[in-house]
């Protein structure tokens, strides 16, 4: 009987976030909390973290086996292989971006939190990038070297993949939000997302190609950055709209 019939004795300050309390969390702090939560969750389930990277390694391994083990043959296609593999790995992790949160009701709580859903989803996308984009950017040079790229190309490959995956994560967040309510959405998600990813692929592969050839790769990386900025301003809005519709 500890819990019942004790009304009034407990401490109950007035309603906090009801417009009168000043303790409501600003949008940015809320977004930071969402980011921290996703990172913590990811490190509690490490296997999901490693899978896209293993996938990336396997895809790049397929090409020497399927085409030719000779580096002079592989070198001209290295940029394309690295980028196609990065694209597919980033896509692989996307299906999980909102899936768990949608199933356990977390997404609903975000939508009803009184905070901007756009910001919270942007934070989730940032977590996705930190967990797949950054590791991919660090792994891509290894794949490049294995395919015959010179050591001097490493900074260029890292830069282009790091910037390009920002755009990929953002575009992907729209696809993931759109297919939220669909079971077995993998193939559809790819069909929706990959055509939109094509500019990223083109500029990214070009930057990597130039880096491997020892040339200046500034222009395509800048174009990638422009895509990332455009994605940053529009993608979270579209994703939030899609999530709202799917929660309806």
């Amino acid at each position: 009987m500890r819990d019942s019939g004790t009304m009034g004795t407990a401490l109950r300050p007035a309603f906090a976030a009801g417009g009168m309390g000043g303790s409501a969390v600003p949008a940015l702090a809320a977004a930071r909390l969402v980011l921290a939560r996703d990172l913590k969750l990811a490190f509690r389930k490490r296997s999901q973290l490693v899978q896209p990277l293993a996938f990336f390694a396997i895809v790049t391994t397929l090409f020497p086996l399927g085409v030719s083990p000779e580096l002079p043959v592989l070198r001209p296609m290295a940029a394309g292989v690295v980028w196609a593999a990065a694209l597919l790995s980033s896509l692989l992790a996307l299906e999980l971006l909102f899936r768990d949160d949608a199933q356990d009701g977390t997404l609903e709580q975000y939508a009803l939190s009184g905070r901007s859903l756009t910001w919270l989803l942007a934070a989730k996308t940032a977590a996705h990038w930190l967990l797949t984009g950054v590791p991919l950017a660090l792994m891509a040079p290894l794949a490049g070297l294995a395919l015959g790229a010179p050591g001097a190309a490493v900074p260029g490959i890292v830069a282009s993949v790091a910037v390009g995956t920002v755009a990929l994560s953002l575009i992907g967040s729209i696809g993931a939000a759109l297919t939220l309510g669909i079971r077995r959405s993998g193939a559809l998600l790819s069909l929706l997302t990959l055509p939109l990813d094509i500019p990223v692929l083109i500029f990214g592969a070009r930057a990597t190609e130039l880096a491997i050839g020892g040339q200046a790769y500034g222009v395509p990386v800048q174009l990638l950055a422009a895509l990332a900025v455009l994605g940053l301003t529009l993608a979270p809005l579209a994703a939030a709209a899609a999530v709202r519709i799917n929660l309806e």
């Binding site: 019942s4 009304m7 417009g19 509690r44 939508a111 009803l112 939190s113």
Partner: protein, 210 residues
């Protein structure tokens, strides 16, 4: 004692060809709790989701303190807490961590407050175990702790007593009664009547299957 008021005026909503909400009307004021009853499929959950703005009614309007909830949805959401069928908890995190993130997105949370809320739902023993290892009733209790920590005037509860034992059901009743006494209001979809002292503020709205 408070001028909070949630009103539904002639709310219509379809799901596909199914006319789920057919001109529903309700009014809940500060200090009142409206119990939604009705068979499965009568639209209890749908009405809750419409009341909080997740679902969009094709006819009629929901108002909060006299203004349409659509006018400033974000401000309206800042004043409500919604508890769905499933407690929104992550299996890999402990109950305490879950509450820190869940409530933390909305407001700054002091440690003593969190401690007090956990104590209130009887969670001291298992607050630091991963939610994965908790029973359904314990998860529900953790979610109730989150609910009280929101400190918002409007509670929307979907079957709040599911999976709870007799004592847990009394706890829900006590929490709601306390909430009402502080001037809050609640809308609860229920299968069994809430275990509350009859009298103050308890109303009922029966929904029927189309």
């Amino acid at each position: 004692m408070s001028d909070f008021c949630l009103e539904g005026e002639n709310v219509h909503l379809w799901r596909g060809d199914h006319h789920v909400l057919r001109g529903v009307r309700f009014q809940v004021r500060g200090g009142e709790c409206l119990q939604l009853t009705g068979a499965n499929g009568a639209g209890k959950t749908t009405l809750l989701r419409t009341a909080c703005g997740l679902a969009y009614p094709e006819g009629g309007e929901i108002t909060w303190c006299g203004e349409s909830i659509r006018k400033d949805m974000q401000a309206f959401h800042a004043q409500l807490a919604y508890l769905g069928h499933e407690p929104p908890l992550k299996a890999e995190l402990s109950a305490r961590e879950n509450l820190e993130y869940w409530v933390g997105v909305r407001r700054l949370l002091a440690d003593e407050e969190l401690e007090h809320a956990l104590q209130r739902v009887g969670a001291q023993q298992w607050a630091d175990r991963p939610v994965r290892t908790l029973s359904a009733g314990q998860k529900r209790r953790a979610a109730l702790a989150g609910l009280t920590l929101m400190r918002v005037p409007l509670w929307l509860l979907d079957e709040p007593t599911t999976n709870l034992d007799a004592e847990g059901q009394r706890l829900v009743g006590a929490l709601i009664a306390e909430h009402l006494q502080a001037g809050g209001l609640a809308l609860a979809a229920v299968h069994h009547e809430l275990a509350m002292t009859a009298g103050q503020g308890l109303q009922r709205l029966e929904l029927t299957v189309a």
